[in-house]
């Protein structure tokens, strides 16, 4: 039986970890961008927004599965993501290491 994929967000240290506690990504926006300030893109059902500061797409991960989130980060570690604390595919755990 396959183990269910889980993703853990540490909102204090801004890190995303997998089920084994390995860091998948550090969520660090040097521009201090806010989702509500990003440009909405037509016909994208608001799943992506454009950051005017750096020109990158920011992807809303709220509707993804945890597995898709892990794959996306592994496929493109530089991908810029939006993660809301409390969204259904991510559990919250502050690392004390």
């Amino acid at each position: 039986m396959l183990m269910e994929e889980k993703v853990f967000l540490d909102p204090v240290h801004k890190t995303l970890r997998d089920s084994q506690g390995r860091v998948l990504k550090v969520l660090n926006c040097p521009q201090l961008a806010l989702w509500q300030d990003l440009a909405v893109i037509a016909n994208q059902e608001d799943q992506h927004r454009l950051c005017g500061a750096c020109g990158k797409l920011v992807i809303d991960t709220e509707q993804w599965t945890a597995g898709r989130l892990v794959r996306a980060v592994r496929d493109d570690p530089e991908a810029c993501l939006r993660i809301r604390v409390g969204q259904g595919n991510v559990e919250i755990k502050v690392s004390n290491e």
Binding site: L9, P11, V12, K14, K25, V26, L27, N28, C29, P30, Q31, L32, A33, L34, W35, A53, C54, V58, C80, L81, R82, I83, R84, V85, G86, E91, I92, K93, V94, N96
Partner: protein
């Protein structure tokens, strides 16, 4: 240390968190704007600890939705999740900063709430835009009802 700029040409203000770092910066031409490091009682995270009664290994969880394995040996408990090396710190002011200039405070000294979670956790703002008024920084931030992380 050099004056650092973002892609938007915004000055980044560094923070020194020890006596040694502050004095090094002063010798390098920065004016250290010293402030107390004062933890806010409002900022908190929670944890619970579960323990396997046979192996003794523990599992820490921080989310009511997480299923802990084993016996609950510490129930959900709130705590202040940050630690800093000194009870004081300083923003390092470069000599060429202009009154009214908007900057990025890379490592905020003040405890400011960035957002909340409906499970009770309250998060600390790590970085912030601010305006220099000649004596101090006026923070440009309003707390959100939810915590959203971008990056």
């Amino acid at each position: 240390m050099n004056k650092n700029v973002h892609e938007q040409r915004m000055l980044v203000i560094r923070t020194a968190r020890t006596e040694k770092e502050i004095n090094q910066a002063a010798r390098n031409g920065f004016y250290p704007l010293v402030k107390r490091v004062s933890p806010s009682p409002e900022i908190r995270s929670k944890y619970a600890v579960y323990q396997n009664p046979e192996s003794g290994e523990v599992q820490v969880v921080g989310d009511y939705r997480s299923a802990g394995e084993g016996n609950e040996v510490i129930g959900f408990t709130y705590y202040y999740p940050h630690s800093f090396p000194s009870p004081f710190a300083a923003y390092l002011i470069p000599p060429d900063i202009k009154v009214g200039e908007v900057v990025i405070l890379e490592d905020l000294i003040e405890d400011v709430v960035s957002g909340r979670w409906n499970q009770g956790d309250v998060f600390r703002l790590a970085s912030c835009r601010a305006t220099w008024n000649g004596n101090d920084f006026i923070l440009q931030h309003s707390a959100s009802s939810e915590e959203v992380v971008l990056g």
